[in-house]
């Protein structure tokens, strides 16, 4: 039995996040911890709370009734689908470090907190938030508010230890998604004719993913990547170190700048 944490921000109850957990439960029974965080404190301890991208701690009015309603809906959904559950409403202030620590004793964290997603979507996440994502001691799915259950897996590969680790962890946590059409993308920064260690990654990924194709995007052809991404219905992106070399500049730009419209998809991040 796997232990999954879904962190909700209290005011949104993501259908996509719950659906991921429900499907996981069909494959192998899970224990889900519904963590309701009214407001998360992104502030960096011991650093002055100024500067771009750092949030002030929040002390404003919290809609307690709305959160309690969401907890009831979540519990009803779990019971309806036969999922073992625990719910927890966090006290304020809840610091993001506490969330990272909670993950040591879980197999997956599904982050259904819009601020996380917006951070990833609207440009580079700030250094501190990025470090927190990397410190999280289990794989994380950063989920948008609404999304459909994935129908296509995109593996962002750059030959690094981190990107290979993410691919392995994804296959352990989501074995049922490994049968979907999967594209391993190497988005080269420089003009390059080969995917690094292609034979090796083919050996590994070919064992885990039954419908796998390789895609090499050369140079700075962002348009090519965008066009390709838009042709993929219901994707899920698998990546290692987010914002560092694990997700190349090309990929990050396409994720952040060109999809501000309604095009949203979950991102699986694992880093050891």
């Amino acid at each position: 039995m796997r232990k999954i944490i879904i962190a909700f921000d209290g005011t949104h109850l993501s259908n996509g996040a719950f659906e991921l957990a429900r499907r996981l439960n069909e494959h192998e029974r899970i224990l889900v911890l519904g963590l309701f965080i009214p407001e998360i404190d992104f502030s960096q301890p011991t650093v002055e709370l100024e500067g771009e991208g750092i949030y002030q701690p929040y002390n404003a009015y919290v809609e307690e009734d709305k959160i309690d309603d969401h907890i009831r809906i979540f519990e009803n959904n779990c019971r309806k689908h036969g999922i073992e559950y625990i719910t927890q409403k966090t006290r304020l202030p809840y610091h993001i470090r506490e969330l990272a620590k909670e993950c040591r004793f879980a197999d997956l964290l599904i982050l259904s907190i819009q601020k996380f997603y917006e951070h990833l979507r609207l440009g580079e996440p700030n250094e501190y938030l990025r470090d927190v994502l990397h410190d999280t001691e289990c794989p994380v799915v950063v989920a948008p508010d609404k999304f459909d259950y994935p129908a296509h897996i995109i593996l962002a590969y750059d030959g690094s230890r981190s990107s290979v680790y993410a691919i392995r962890m994804f296959s352990y946590i989501f074995p049922d998604l490994c049968t979907l059409p999967t594209t391993l993308v190497y988005a080269a920064v420089k003009k390059q004719s080969e995917i690094p260690d292609q034979n090796y990654i083919q050996e590994l990924a070919g064992r885990h993913f039954s419908d796998l194709t390789f895609l090499l995007l050369e140079g700075r052809k962002t348009d090519e990547l965008h066009a390709w991404l838009q042709s993929i219905a219901k994707p899920m992106l698998v990546t290692g170190a987010f914002g560092r070399s694990g997700l190349s500049n090309l990929f990050r730009k396409s994720f952040s700048t060109n999809f501000i419209s309604d095009y949203r998809y979950p991102v699986f991040i694992a880093h050891n």
Partner: protein, 284 residues
């Protein structure tokens, strides 16, 4: 399907090892990639090893040494192929003679598990090769037991650190079929782990394994671990806690008893790339 590397000296193949490989294969959807190494044996240049290897492989020493080594290696690889065929184990063969460690480390990035036969290194213990491999492999490493007679129970070591939980999780993802085995969690000086962490860890263990018992001891980590592990019956030992210390302290004579005890049993070692934020617990 999981990709498993089985690292073995070509000149020192022990067919008994196939019992263990067969056991691992039976646990899940694995494909074995056997890596036969030439270089380590050649470096040692020990005549007795060739003679023993020749006898084991059923070869006669009637050819010049170099081609003789080659012949024994090839005979051994053939025996491996036949044994896999007889047991219906899917396999690939890789043969490598140069840049051994670098080559295996690169392979380990693209593997789910690395099985290592340490028997041939124990004679020359401590082994720099084994130490380097355990320290730098990018996937979990499984050290083969000296003589495999089945697994009666899983023994996890736990000290509250990131490494200890990491190893437990990696083992669980690789061998979900073992969740019904009798399971012991060994912790030396348990009071050093925060109560809240104990509760979360217990919750995770009880969710993941059906028959868990917790064993505690106070005192010196080396001594108490040897004492506790010695009492276990055909254990499969999972080292996360204390594992990094074991590897980094491989060459320290004070660790000899512990390391010999550990490497006689089936031993699973995994540690994350990043180091623990926590303080080192225990004396290892």
């Amino acid at each position: 399907m999981r990709r498993v590397l089985y690292v073995q000296e070509a000149l020192n193949f022990n067919p008994g090892n196939l019992e263990f490989v067969d056991f691992i294969y039976g646990l899940g959807n694995f494909r074995i990639t056997a890596v036969f190494l030439d270089k380590i044996a050649e470096e040692r240049n020990d005549e007795k090893i060739w003679e023993t290897a020749a006898m084991q492989a059923g070869s006669k020493m009637t050819v010049p040494q170099k081609s003789f080594h080659q012949k024994v290696s090839e005979d051994n690889i053939q025996r491996f192929i036949e044994a896999c065929y007889a047991r219906d184990i899917p396999y690939d063969i890789l043969r490598e003679s140069t840049g051994v460690l670098k080559y295996i480390l690169q392979e380990s990035r693209y593997a789910d598990l690395l099985i290592l036969d340490m028997a041939s290194y124990k004679a020359a213990f401590p082994s720099y090769f084994a130490e380097d491999l355990l320290r730098n492999a990018e996937c979990p490493v499984l050290v083969m037991p000296l003589a495999f007679e089945g697994i009666e129970e899983l023994v996890f070591t736990y000290d509250g650190t990131l490494s200890s939980v990491y190893a437990v999780k990696q083992f669980t993802y690789l061998f979900p079929q073992m969740c019904n085995y009798k399971t012991a969690v060994v912790c030396i000086n348990p009071e050093q782990v925060a109560e809240a962490d104990w509760n979360k860890f217990r919750e995770w263990m009880f969710a993941s394994y059906a028959r868990v018992e917790f064993l505690y001891a106070e005192g010196n980590v080396d001594d108490e671990l040897v004492e506790l592990l010695h009492k276990r019956d055909h254990p499969f030992i999972i080292m996360g806690a204390y594992g990094r210390g074991i590897v980094s302290g491989f060459l320290r004579p004070s660790h000899a008893n512990l390391v010999i005890q550990l490497t006689s049993e089936a031993l699973f070692i995994a540690h994350p790339k990043r180091t623990d934020h926590e303080e080192d617990i225990g004396s290892v």
